[in-house]
């Protein structure tokens, strides 16, 4: 896993305590950062900003759960970078990492046992609603890079 702590040259970076009450703040910041730019730049569609807020919320929720599992108090990083026609957000945690290929699939939605699973929707929501979702993970933590196009 690559971990970059240097200041990147563009976009914003937010570090938050790994606690659920900060999720709303993250969504507000990511939504705001997506719409902030020089005059004349075409802002992203509101629907895409909603998608961005949702997938980032999922990734930060997972980051919080991962750090809680190992009692890691470090702050979670959220980097938001505007690119031509799209927004890239990276979420970095200090949790124990995981094997994305080993995450079991949920039963089909029409199966009776589907209702036994209250969790397990986050990664699939990211896959469906983001235009790109890349996971770099290892024993020191996980970086999720989400890309959402402006339209």
């Amino acid at each position: 896993m690559t971990r970059r702590r240097g200041r990147t040259t563009s976009g914003i970076e937010l570090a938050i305590p790994p606690r659920p009450e900060y999720l709303q703040l993250v969504r507000a910041v990511v939504g705001a950062a997506a719409g902030t730019g020089p005059t004349g730049r075409t802002p992203p569609d509101p629907g895409r900003v909603a998608d961005l807020r949702l997938v980032v919320s999922e990734a930060v929720t997972n980051a919080m759960e991962a750090q809680a599992a190992v009692g890691a108090p470090e702050r979670i990083l959220v980097r938001c970078r505007p690119e031509e026609g799209r927004i890239v957000v990276e979420i970095v945690d200090r949790g124990p990492g995981f094997d994305p290929d080993a995450v079991p699939d949920l039963p089909p939605v029409t199966d009776h046992e589907r209702l036994d699973h209250e969790s397990g929707l986050g990664l699939s929501l990211m896959d469906r609603l983001a235009d790109g979702a890349v996971v770099e993970t290892g024993p020191d933590g996980t970086l999720v890079r989400l890309t959402v196009d402006h339209s």
Binding site: P20, L23, V109, S119, L121, L125
Partner: protein, 127 residues
């Protein structure tokens, strides 16, 4: 009541009874953000109502600003709990913004999304 961004309510649940029209009917109206911070409160409200005998539970998400997988988990758990007692769950979710989240998980295939509480109750009592 948690407050967050600019003192805005993070999450709250309001309860109202549908009795006597629907004797074991209860409406839980969720307000604010139904995420990992808000979901536990709604889950415990659902558990309380089912334990107290509710058999038709209407979850009204009209006032929900944000819904993510943590909130969907509560909905799935509510459906399981009610069915275990031969009860039923009805969802009120008029906003296309939120409907989109149900659709992205195919949950709209097992749960109807109603425009308002009356529509949700009407369908239930017709049954």
């Amino acid at each position: 009541m948690d407050t967050g961004v600019d003192g805005q309510v993070q999450f709250d649940v309001h309860r109202s009874s549908l009795a006597p029209a629907v004797p074991a009917g209860v409406v839980l109206r969720a307000l604010g953000d139904l995420d990992m911070a808000g979901a536990p409160r709604l889950r415990s409200a659902v558990v309380t109502e089912v334990a107290a005998g509710a058999r038709l539970l209407v979850l009204d998400l009209t006032g929900v600003d944000h819904l993510d997988s943590a909130g969907l988990g509560v909905v799935i758990g509510a459906l399981r709990r009610l069915r275990a007692h031969d009860g039923d769950l009805r969802l009120v979710c008029p906003e296309s913004r939120l409907r989109r989240v149900f659709e992205a998980c195919d949950l709209d295939r097992i749960l109807e999304l109603h425009a308002d509480v009356d529509a949700a109750v009407a369908e239930a009592t017709v049954r």
